[in-house]
Amino acid sequence: MDKRDHAGMSSAADLAGVVLSRVGWVAGGTRILDDVSVRFRSGQFNVVLGPNGAGKSTLLRVATGLVHPSAGSVTYDGEPLSAFDPQRLARVRAVLSQHVELAFPLPVRDVAMMGRYPHFRRVPTPRDREIVDASLALVGMSDRAAQPYSTLSGGEQQKVQLARVLAQIWTDDAGPDAAQSRFLFLDEPTSSLDVHYQLHLLDVARGLLEARCTVVAILHDLNVALRYADHVVLLDGGRVAWNGERSEEIPLSVLERVFRVKARRVGGAGDEGSLLQFTL
């Protein structure tokens, strides 16, 4: 936000990132999201937290454009999501889901290449191949490129999916969308991963922040979430229960009420070292 002092830049800067205004979503008569207004800033690691059934996944489906909200609107850098055509949206926005299984045998490189589908017409260009190789290298799967996806472990499969997603919104791509910012959503990406893969994946996602990317992650592990988050949105019953940039300031009373547990901080006083501990 260092552009504030430039006249006329402030409004554009305020709209950078993903903005949900007064979003509502009703399914089968039940209000899943109720008047949710949040802003996920560009260049920040945004984390959405909340108990099961709080509406996190629905929020992500609305924010990624998979479904249209029944009320309210979503904008990317100020442009309404409804104004994007599906192909253009797919070139700047990608989603890493929990776990993707393939019913059929396919080499790892072909799976990662699917991330480039929105970019080429029939046959991948040499540039598409370079990007796929680079994204596989970034997640440390280069030596597995020719191996069938189904023979990998769950953690390795998730790395390949991350490579696919990175290839989809590759940031130094000189394509038609080179000037566009990128939007990466992570839907509980680490729930099937051991702690090494979890931290590795989140570090890779953090690394994207420098390149005009907005990262929004749904995470389950509160300690991991608070460690990585620049901005936390706490959902409860389809509403925003807490929303702020300094995650260590979330009142314990709010966490206790939302997650229906007893919470206390252990270790360093409010600093990086502190951890949350929960009991029933």
Partner: protein, 354 residues
């Protein structure tokens, strides 16, 4: 998708083309009348008017041009249709045990077509449709049956295999009963031939059938090829395909229509032939890749090759009588089906190819 893989695809496709060409020549020459390649060439030249007709050869020429050649071509086209159809349906249902014979498509087509054969000539609804009545009714029956099976087995966009199989059994049983009843009450001895519908045969092949199936197949196949990439993306799931900029709902409907159109047309001509659509894509996936850019053309070629070989066997096993081709495909295909099912049980529903 890499350059090396693409060259590998081209090599495999060329090999299949060569094998299919050899099989076509052998099939055209084998049977009650045998023809040498030189004889075939001279008949072809006479038929096309390039060389003068030889009168003392009229019988052989007519057998070759009016019976054998359409039969060989129809068997190849039907095999291509069934192979491609199995590939499309497995892609749409995201499961390797789907094929038109199991998912009700073929049985629905047979019921629709037999309605026209038995009642159609006189009934008010079919008369205005003329010669299109059989393919159209076959399509209507096939589409209704396939959609029913799909709707029952797919909840929240994910297909449950066992529901799919059970729904397929039920729809096949109903359609089979309907076809059986129609055959039973039919006056026309042709339409009474129930084995024609249930086991498939190429004995009734003629040029009209060849042309109808060839045109339908070519158009549907060309349109399907454009969706090869979308079928690849669909392997990840409907949401993931949508996030890659595709429209999975429209893709599924479009491909189901194209697939049903091909299968219905072929089934209306030759009857129900099961298991080809199951085995062909399975073999290709194991040998090479599930990349649909390869799988679609390769399954057309391998399907054609398999069907031509089966048709030769049907003519040669118990001469001078003929075995219905569906018996041979079932004897080979059913064990493969059971084997795939066992593998799937053992390793969970996904990733068993590893």
């Amino acid at each position: 998708m890499t350059r090396v893989a693409r060259r590998g695809y081209a090599g495999a496709l060329l090999l299949l083309v060569a094998l299919l060409a050899v099989a076509l020549v052998i099939s055209a020459g084998a049977g009650a009348f045998t023809f040498t390649p030189a004889k075939m060439w001279s008949y072809l030249a006479q038929g096309a008017g390039w060389s003068p007709s030889v009168e003392r050869d009229a019988l052989g020429r007519n057998v070759f041009l009016q019976l054998r050649l359409p039969r060989v071509l129809l068997s190849a086209l039907t095999g291509a249709v069934l192979g491609v159809s199995g590939t499309i349906m497995q892609g749409l249902f995201r499961n390797p045990i789907v094929e038109p014979g199991l998912a009700g498509t073929s049985a629905g087509a047979a019921l629709g077509a037999s309605l026209v054969f038995v009642l159609g000539g006189t009934s008010a609804f079919a008369a205005p449709l003329g010669s299109l009545a059989v393919p159209l009714m076959a399509f209507a029956g096939a589409f209704a049956a396939t959609m029913l099976v799909y709707r029952v087995s797919a909840t929240f966009g994910k297909v449950n295999v066992f529901t799919l199989l059970l729904a397929g059994i039920a729809v096949n049983a109903v359609c089979g009963a309907g076809t059986g009843f129609l055959s039973y009450v039919a006056r026309d001895p042709q339409a009474r031939n129930i084995t024609f519908w249930n086991l498939g045969t190429f004995t009734t092949a003629d040029w009209r059938g060849v042309i109808v199936v060839a045109v339908t197949f070519t158009v549907c196949f060309a349109l399907t090829l454009r969706d090869a990439r979308a079928l690849n993306a669909l392997m990840l799931g409907e949401d993931e395909a949508a996030l890659l900029g595709m429209d999975p709902q429209r893709l599924i409907i479009r491909l189901l229509v194209l697939n049903t159109l091909m299968v219905a047309t072929a089934t209306a001509m030759v009857g129900v032939i099961a298991f080809v659509g199951l085995v062909v894509p399975h073999v290709l996936r194991m040998l090479k890749s599930s990349d649909y850019a390869f799988l679609l053309p390769a399954s057309a070629l391998l399907g054609a090759l398999a069907m031509v070989v089966v048709d030769v066997a049907a003519r040669l096993i118990i001469p001078p009588a003929e075995l219905p081709v569906g018996i041979i495909t079932a004897v080979i295909g059913a064990p493969v089906f059971l084997w795939i099912l066992m593998l799937q049980q053992r390793r969970g529903s996904a990733g068993y190819y590893g």
